[in-house]
């Protein structure tokens, strides 16, 4: 199934993030900074306007990455995914000053999965690759809606107004995009 070159490849970004988390490796952190800081800044610049500059929120995000790095588990997801969730939470904080309600896996009322966790870095990396390829195969309309939904800090009805299409169309493009992405993941053996 998996070509040998894919089997050997480990995700260098994940390795760097693990090094930061376990040994506070400053050189690894600088390499992560070079890769992610310009992307996080770009992500912040696309959100709602704020008194805070994208550079400042980027800096806050990188501080949070440094502080939380020990919590990163490479078997659960890629470094990009983990850093995306940190950046997203920083943006909610900075732009809306709002709290984000979240579930707590340590809560006794939390219902754990009956299936054992995969705990497999190869699988995690395979998932990232399949996703990347699948995103590239989305139609222009689907990919536009997907990007707007993730990057702009706006409701889907605002996005509908901006694109001058009905809200139902935004939702159905999203649904179709996700159906396609899930199908690609199922084909690669990782299927929620």
């Amino acid at each position: 199934m998996v070509p040998p070159d894919d089997m050997d490849a480990t995700d260098p970004l994940s390795d760097l993030l693990v090094a930061v988390g376990t040994t506070r490796d400053m050189e690894a952190f600088q390499t992560l900074f070079r890769h992610f800081a310009p992307r996080i800044k770009s992500y912040m610049a696309r959100g709602a306007t704020s008194a805070l500059q994208p550079d400042e929120i980027m800096q806050e995000t990188m501080v949070a990455v440094w502080n939380k790095a020990a919590l990163y588990d490479p078997t659960k997801g890629s470094a990009s995914t983990w850093i995306f969730t940190i950046a997203r939470n920083q943006r909610i904080d900075a732009y809306r000053r709002a709290t984000r309600p979240e579930f707590d896996p340590n809560d006794p009322a939390f219902v754990p999965s009956s299936e054992p966790a995969a705990d497999d870095r190869m699988q995690t990396q395979q998932t990232s690759k399949s996703l990347r390829r699948a995103i590239e195969t989305l139609s222009t309309e689907q990919s536009e809606v997907l990007r707007l939904c993730y990057f702009e800090d706006n409701s889907q009805s605002t996005i509908a107004e901006r694109l001058n299409i009905p809200l139902g169309t935004v939702k159905s493009r999203l649904r179709l995009a996700f159906a396609k992405l899930r199908l690609a993941l199922e084909a690669s053996g990782d299927a929620p």
Binding site: Q30, K41, A98, V111
Partner: protein
Amino acid sequence: MTIRHHIEDDLLVSYASGALSEGWSIAVATHLALCPHCRARLETAEAVGGQLLDAITPEQVDALAWDQLRTRIASGATAPEVAPRPAAIASDIPRPLRDYIGGGIDAIKWRNLGKGASQMRLRTGDPTTQVRLLRIPAGKPVPEHTHRGRELTLVLSGSFHDEEGSFGPGDIEDADGSVLHQPIASPEADCICLAVTDAPLKFSSWIVRALQPVLGI
């Protein structure tokens, strides 16, 4: 707990991207605490966010940004986080909803709505939604109503059924303004649920509508 009614894709993406406001997010996050299936879907939605972040057109950062960051870290002004949050006390309502109530089902401060139904409004920082708990007596209906907007209903205990199907603990019903429905609690037990709306409910019976300001529903 067998959950049959899950979170729609558009809500899940809004939650994953961070665009969903606090009120709706309470219902989504509480369903996620109860539903491993939707948590796996959330992981996929967040992985999409990771891939999109990786593929974004980078913007040049200030030349001094790295030095500033390094100085800040070296000065010890940052505190590494290691320990996960301590386990909370056992409860019949999961977080994050429990934090809004201030406890489990016993801690709910019910206010009578008439006909045996009661509610408790939950305080949030989100002015665009109304968040409350509802208790419908066993075998009794909620007054028939349509919505001006969306209504998310998450069952916490007991069950109800309406034109859309049957909803038990953990199930989430997602109704938009076009649905005219009459939920009826099943006869075995009172049904307790979380209801999030983006506008006050609009009851179709004129008498209930007339009483709406009085009852505060």
